[in-house]
Symmetry: C2
Subunit: 241 residues, 2 copies
DNA sequence: TAAACAATGTGTATTTAGTACATATTCATT
DNA sequence: AATGAATATGTACTAAATACACATTGTTTA
């Protein structure tokens, strides 16, 4: 709203619609919380508690509070439901289909977040909150499958040019792990030598001069994301608008 | 909002906040309407009618109606204020700063649209609606400068991989015009031969076997965007979510 | 009407990035 | 000590990006 003031609506057409009608739209955030484990990209879903969606899963979301920034709301949802802090969050798209919520008009703003499942053990105890393999998710409550797909598309577009997916890996990782992660996000197989050349060219990684351990085969070298990228692409700061 | 129902809010913390508080947030769309004329990228602005922003310009926007899709709302704003139809519209980002609107909490969803100024002569008569050179816009009402910048950044990112900016040109254009448009959006100078090679590679253009007319120098060949791209990237369909 | 002007149209050499592909090495296991 | 299984690495080829200069065409004007 730029020139029209919520209180003094002007045109004849608009005057027919009461103040209350205008403010009978709720706003929420929905979080596509992505993790990576066992060579699979996963998304955190909860059983829907709406009878209209019985048996279906949905994303984590909540209404935005009256004095809450959008980014703060999505961060709060993440914290309240998972106990996680310091996560990478990014706004993706607003979804406003009139019939998207059975209880009334709810416009939602979708975020995705990337977390390292192994490192941030979350308190999944209290409710039916579980990691689901993204590739096996076919139907979700509301328009959440749309939202998930939009997030995944955006992530794919971003992943080769911006060092974001390190948020899905532990601090130290091997090039094999990194390659497998790229493969599962992009949905393609990559040639190992070419992949390494491409990554080397980006100059994102720091060679830690350490090796993998506890493997039943030759261990690879360990790397981490260079510090200068962590400021921009790791944790909360990613979501600042 | 995914699992929580607007009517039956559950947790203790949430119960403190009344239904009315939750629904006292308004939602708007704001349109960054971009045009191109005299080798300059321009944005359509209106004088703000809020005393808090006296003398400042703002984007075109309006509240979303109770039964209106987001894309439809931005399209309506565009039509009502400019008379334009069949424009390219794309959602960019939601802005929800608590203090962004002096009259209360208004979350806005920003769109940009691209139109051919010369072709769509708009009825600028009725109010203080004018084209402003994007490069000279320094301060706007609300957070509209932020919104403008976000749109421009997103446009820059998109422009080399997707045939969107043809919406800013007339149906028939020369390669020089196209290059100048790219230069003004990207803010760089491009080598003519390399530019032509790059565009040829994309295979976006149809050679019309016509020449420019009414020039005081050698005319160039005229091209148009191939039809197969018009479906996806020209006019309304661009905004479908 | 010829010369000057101002823009169009085009090609080649160089560098850089992307792709396809095979062998030697290292550690763990047997 | 031999085997297995993964790591590590290099080269030839193709495609794209960049740097760069000259002939051509239509208009203007002297």
């Amino acid at each position: 709203m730029s020139n029209t003031n919520a209180v003094k609506l002007k045109t004849a057409e608009i005057e027919k619609i009461s103040h209350l009608d205008y403010f009978n739209i709720a706003i929420s955030v929905d979080c596509v919380i992505l993790g990576y484990e066992d060579k699979e990209l996963k998304v955190l879903l909860i059983k829907s508690d709406l009878k209209e969606f019985e048996g279906l899963y949905s994303l984590l979301g909540d209404l935005i509070r009256p004095n809450e920034e959008l980014d703060a709301a999505s961060y709060r949802v993440l914290q309240e439901r998972t106990g996680l802090e310091d996560v990478y969050l990014e706004q993706v798209h607003a979804f406003g289909g009139i019939e998207r919520h059975p209880s009334g008009r709810v416009i939602t703003i979708a975020y995705y977040s990337l977390i390292d499942i192994k490192n941030h053990k979350l308190k999944l105890s209290h409710n039916e909150l579980h990691w689901h393999e993204v590739s096996k998710v076919t139907k979700l409550a509301f328009d959440h499958k749309d939202i998930l797909d939009t997030c995944l598309t955006q992530l794919k577009d971003k992943v080769m040019d911006h060092p974001v997916i390190f948020n899905l890996l532990p601090e130290k990782f091997s090039l094999r792990e990194l390659q497998e992660l790229y493969e599962s996000i992009l949905g393609v197989e990559l040639d190992r030598r070419n992949f390494r050349k491409k990554i080397a060219l980006k100059d994102w990684l720091e060679d830690l001069n350490e090796m993998e351990t506890n493997l039943s085969h030759r261990p690879g070298k360990l790397y981490s994301l260079k510090n200068k990228f962590k400021e921009e692409y790791v944790g909360l700061s990613g979501s600042t608008q």
